[in-house]
């Protein structure tokens, strides 16, 4: 029925099966839509956020998806700026994942602020000292870049390509993609950093505060580093998931292995810096605030397990796994390592957001706990649904994986 829209020479499931596949994601979107409506109409009282937990699950999700979406800018950088040709087979997927993550995050932020209709005041009355201003500027600009990067992929749809002007436009865009990739890299670098900086500059919160390097706290660099270490792994995971569901090979191993190996090294590098940073922090900032390291790890569920899990189990372990070729080349090993890597980064973002707020600074302030409401989960899950849906539609109708035909000769339809 819709086969005229499929990319040239590939096989796709029947519309019925595809519709069934989209149902759960549409359901998530509907749940999210209702939640969003309630939050916008009735206000943020629909959530369990509070004056203590000013940031909550949405910001965790935001920072997590933005970190995981870093595959887009980093792969783009490697493909277009460094010129790693083998990544051309995965760059489209990386861009779409990036677009999903960033657009989802921006939409979520629109609901997260108390006065969405005034959101543009960040630009209108910008306070240049605020890390969040930098984040807002860079994220909106980078979302624009991602959209520009996404357009040529859309224009490559078999039917759209038939319109000469559009085809030409897409072609032209492709030509200058290097410029956008470089811009994207620049913007991405800064907002990933600023997101980290947001926490590092909270100098009255000793748990988050990090020492400065020029105007940037170390978290600025750690967030960039961790994002580029985890982003490619997330791209790999998405690709592998698509391969598993479509039961096809979509990306040549060399691209995946290159990204995996690179992730391994980046993660190792990140961990070295993270461990140094943690050590320095524990020996300067923490004692200066009159505290000991363990003072941060005794409130409620936030024990020292956080640090062990973040750096050890979901840090060092996947780094080592990714660096050992035998593990990396084993399909299961690769998936496990990538999953652990991504988990570690999500945990890192979680710790910086939730634990920072949960641990009171004043000695007499009490510990409060927080559990999200269904509305908060709804918005968060809508992002998952939106991601699956957009990626599925893109996969179905757009030549996301340029090597698909080549890698699956038997299935040509």
């Amino acid at each position: 029925m819709d086969s005229a829209l499929f990319p040239e020479g590939v096989k796709r499931c029947s519309p019925k099966v595809f519709l069934l596949w989209t149902l759960p994601w549409l359901a998530l979107l509907a749940w999210g839509g209702l939640s969003a409506f309630l939050c916008l109409w009735k206000g943020l009282n629909q959530t369990n956020m509070s004056n203590i937990f000013a940031f909550a699950i949405w910001i965790v999700f935001d920072l997590a998806v933005i970190a995981l979406g870093a595959g887009a800018f980093f792969t783009g950088f490697l493909t277009y700026v460094i010129g790693r040709k083998e990544l051309k087979s995965i760059i489209n997927a990386a861009v779409i994942i990036g677009f999903i993550c960033y657009s989802g995050a921006v939409a979520m932020l629109g609901i997260d602020i108390g006065q969405p209709i005034r959101g543009w005041f960040i630009f209108w009355h910008a306070n240049v000292h605020s890390m969040l201003t930098e984040v807002s500027f860079c994220i909106s600009a980078y979302l624009g870049v991602l959209a520009i990067e996404y357009i040529p992929i859309i224009l490559e749809n078999r039917q759209i390509e038939k319109v000469p002007h559009l085809r030409l436009f897409g072609h032209n865009l492709h030509h200058i993609m290097g410029v956008f990739a470089a811009t994207g890299t620049f913007l991405s670098f800064f907002h990933q950093g600023s997101l980290g900086g947001m926490f590092g500059v909270m100098y009255a919160r000793p748990f988050a505060e990090r020492w400065d390097f020029y105007v940037w706290p170390t978290t600025f660099f750690l967030f960039v580093f961790s994002a580029i270490a985890a982003g490619p792994c997330f791209t790999i995971l998405c690709t592998k998931l698509t391969e598993a569901i479509s039961r096809k090979k979509l990306v040549p191993d060399n691209a995946v292995q290159f990204l995996a190996r690179l992730s391994g090294w980046l993660l190792s590098g990140y961990l070295v810096l993270k461990i140094i940073d943690t050590a320095v922090w524990a020996n300067t900032t923490v004692p200066n605030a009159g505290l000991g390291l363990m003072d941060f790890y005794r409130e409620g569920p936030y024990g020292i397990w956080m640090l062990i899990a973040e750096i050890g189990i979901f840090g060092i372990v996947p780094a080592v796994m990714l660096m050992i070729p035998q593990v990396r080349q084993n399909p299961a090993g690769l998936i496990v390592a990538c999953l652990m890597n991504c988990t570690g980064i999500v945990l890192n973002r979680f710790v910086f957001i939730i634990a920072t707020l949960a641990i009171p600074v004043m000695p007499f302030a009490r510990f409060w706990s927080y559990l999200p409401t269904w509305q908060e989960w709804g918005i968060a899950m809508a992002l998952v649904g939106y991601g699956f849906l957009l990626f599925s539609v893109s996969y179905r109708y757009l030549p996301v994986f340029p090597k698909e035909q080549e890698l699956n000769p038997a299935m040509n339809g």
Binding site: G43, L44, N45, M49, S50, N51, I52, F53, A54, F55, D112, I113, G114, Q115, R118, G119, F121, I122, W124, H125, A126, N127, H129, S130, M131, L132, T133, S136, M198, V201, M202, Y203, A204, R205, P206, P287, N288, A289, G290, L291, G292, D295, T356, L357, P360, V361, M362, P363, F364, A365, W368
Partner: protein, 253 residues
């Protein structure tokens, strides 16, 4: 970012020996500043109370237990005011001329970054629109605008009272205010007269003298925010509550 020193520097000293924990400061503040009331005021994580009471106990068993209170307004941090630098749309600023940290409700977008940055929990978000049972909008004062939901607010040191005092002074052909002419609502109402308010830059003011009391201290001093709110207590265990200390570090006065 050290503040450029302005002419005035308004601050507060709260004597915890005098403070009875009665909460009149909180109520007077709410009445003065049109604080909203939500349907469940026992929801302490989401209710708004610019002047909040924190209860502390010495932790000793019966019958040696003691309780004390920290009434906590906004500290109006003088140094690198943590909330000001993080606010993306410039909705909060410190007025260098008098040291008061402002919050402009109509500018605020409700991102709550300032709340995250403030270690004193002095900032409050309007999770709801205020609930005004029929007729109660009549007690609202026109001197402070009523906040809409979705914005952050906090103690303003009753800034409108400064404006009020200035207008009064101008009407009397004076430009300068006398000590005590501008005080906050909590200072005025405290039945134990535990709160003193005035210009810390004026060496003759009561507040400046009290801030140099040997038993005077500030909250979380080692973080370096330089609050303009001081406390006085003769009790070591109370003073020890004001900051984080390493074992054996605290020096009794």
């Amino acid at each position: 970012m050290k503040a450029t020193e302005g002419k005035y520097k308004y601050g507060m000293v709260i004597n915890l020996d005098k403070c009875t924990g009665c909460g009149t400061c909180t109520v007077a503040c709410a009445a003065e500043n049109n604080l909203s009331v939500i349907r469940d005021e026992t929801d302490k994580q989401r209710t708004i109370s610019w002047m909040q009471l924190f209860k502390v106990t010495n932790g000793k068993p019966f019958p040696d237990t003691e309780v004390s209170y920290f009434p906590r307004p906004c500290m109006h941090c003088h140094n690198h005011t943590p909330c000001v630098s993080v606010c993306p749309p410039t909705a909060t600023k410190m007025d260098y001329n008098n040291g008061i940290v402002s919050q402009i409700y109509t500018r605020c977008i409700g991102c709550r970054y300032c709340q995250a940055a403030c270690p004193y929990q002095a900032r409050y978000f309007n999770w709801w629109d205020g609930h005004f049972p029929k007729g109660t909008e009549r007690y609202l004062s026109p001197e402070v605008s009523v906040r809409m939901r979705g914005v952050v607010e906090k103690c303003s040191f009753c800034h409108h009272r400064l404006m009020r005092a200035k207008e009064q002074a101008y009407a009397e052909d004076r430009r300068e205010l006398e000590d005590g002419e501008y005080i906050t609502a909590c200072t005025e109402v405290c039945p134990a007269e535990a709160i003193t308010f005035g210009d810390l830059n004026d060496p003759d003011s009561k507040v400046a003298k009290l801030s140099k009391h040997p038993q005077a201290f500030r909250l979380l001093e080692r973080i370096g925010t330089e609050p303009k709110v001081y406390y006085i207590s003769s009790k070591d265990w109370v003073r020890r509550m004001a900051d984080n200390y390493h074992p054996n570090e605290f020096q009794p006065v």
